[in-house]
């Protein structure tokens, strides 16, 4: 069944405490190549049947209203994944 993937990330100007913790932990584990980390959310919405334009519009709408809070987050990506 097809899924619609919605990716939400904290706004760049907002300090992301989880990303900060990860960036602190990485070098301790020997991962030294990353200068910054941000943690966001990935949603997978399953659609029974075909992904029509209307359903995609619904997903976009849900992403902006429920799945993200525009004060602190951006919807960075919406895409359809088959199977």
């Amino acid at each position: 069944m097809p899924r619609i993937v919605v990716d939400v990330m904290p706004k760049p100007e907002i300090l992301d405490p989880q990303g900060k913790a990860i960036v602190g932990a990485l070098p301790r584990l020997g991962f030294t190549s990353f200068s910054a980390v941000r943690q966001g959310k990935r949603f997978e919405l399953t659609v029974d049947g075909e992904v029509t334009d209307e359903i995609l519009a619904q997903a976009r709408n849900a992403a902006e209203t429920l799945l993200s809070n525009p004060v602190i987050e951006d919807v960075v990506n919406i895409e359809v994944v088959e199977g």
Partner: protein
């Protein structure tokens, strides 16, 4: 020589039966935790607590509303994100914005629901230390002209419990400057910023002062012995403030 305070000893209740006519709604969502406590606080302050169910489509006969703490819908998505869409919230939002300016207090998850509803600006993200933190927290009342703080002195310091995981208040600089300029920073953390909140902000109000939200829990400091040690009742003023206003203004 003072004795260890007895608990449940309300020798000097702050309010008399004069206030019992005022009805304060206490909202319950699935996952709300502090609703009974908020109702008890209303009662101890002298008012009448009215349970409100999230799915109700009418607000009914209430003079003010408390949105208590908890983890509405598990807070899995974002704190307060799903609760904000409850039918009752539409009514509360309308009433808060109407000319009648319904007094609304959001505590902890209630504060988060109010920001998600855009009744209050900014938002809460994870505490900077990433842990749930429960502690007795000193707050300064920065504005005693709101519906919920008029029984305090401006600048008064009170101790109430704080307990949350997503308590870091953030907003952009412009919003923060505006909040400060308009006197809408109602509470500030004193001595210790427990979560990284911008400018030590613990709670704010809307422009009219009827809608107030804060992360710490005044309803857990209304009875000696059941709140922070050796102080215990510093939170009662929230509830007497609104009751006195309601009764006085009626």
């Amino acid at each position: 020589m003072t004795e260890t305070p007895l608990i449940g000893d309300l020798a000097a209740p702050a309010a008399g039966s004069a206030l019992s006519g005022a009805r304060i709604g206490v909202v319950t969502f699935p996952g709300t935790l502090d609703d009974r406590d908020a109702a008890r606080a209303v009662r101890l302050a002298g008012g009448t607590a009215v349970p409100l169910w999230h799915a109700a489509t009418e607000l009914g006969d209430v003079d003010a509303v408390v949105i208590p703490g908890g983890f509405s819908y598990g807070d899995y998505l974002r704190a307060g994100a799903i609760a904000r869409f409850a039918p009752l919230m539409d009514k509360i939002i309308d009433a808060a914005k109407s000319d009648a300016k319904l007094p609304v207090l959001g505590i902890c998850n209630g504060f988060q629901i109010l920001t998600e509803s855009h009744l209050l600006p900014g938002s809460m993200i994870k505490n900077d230390h990433l842990k749930f933190l429960c502690r007795d927290q000193v707050l300064r009342i920065e504005n005693n002209t709101t519906a919920w703080t008029s029984d305090y002195a401006a600048g008064q310091e009170i101790t109430v419990p704080l307990k949350n995981q997503d308590g870091q208040f953030i907003a952009d600089e412009k919003t923060l400057d505006a909040l400060e300029a308009e006197g809408r920073v109602v509470f500030r953390y004193v001595g210790f910023n427990p979560n990284g909140s911008r400018r030590d902000i613990a709670g704010i109000s809307n422009a009219a002062g009827n809608v107030v939200g804060l992360m710490p829990h005044p309803e857990h400091a209304v009875e000696a012995g059941y709140g922070p040690a050796h102080t215990g009742t510093d939170g009662l003023g929230f509830f007497t403030s609104v009751l006195n206003k309601l009764v006085g203004g009626k």
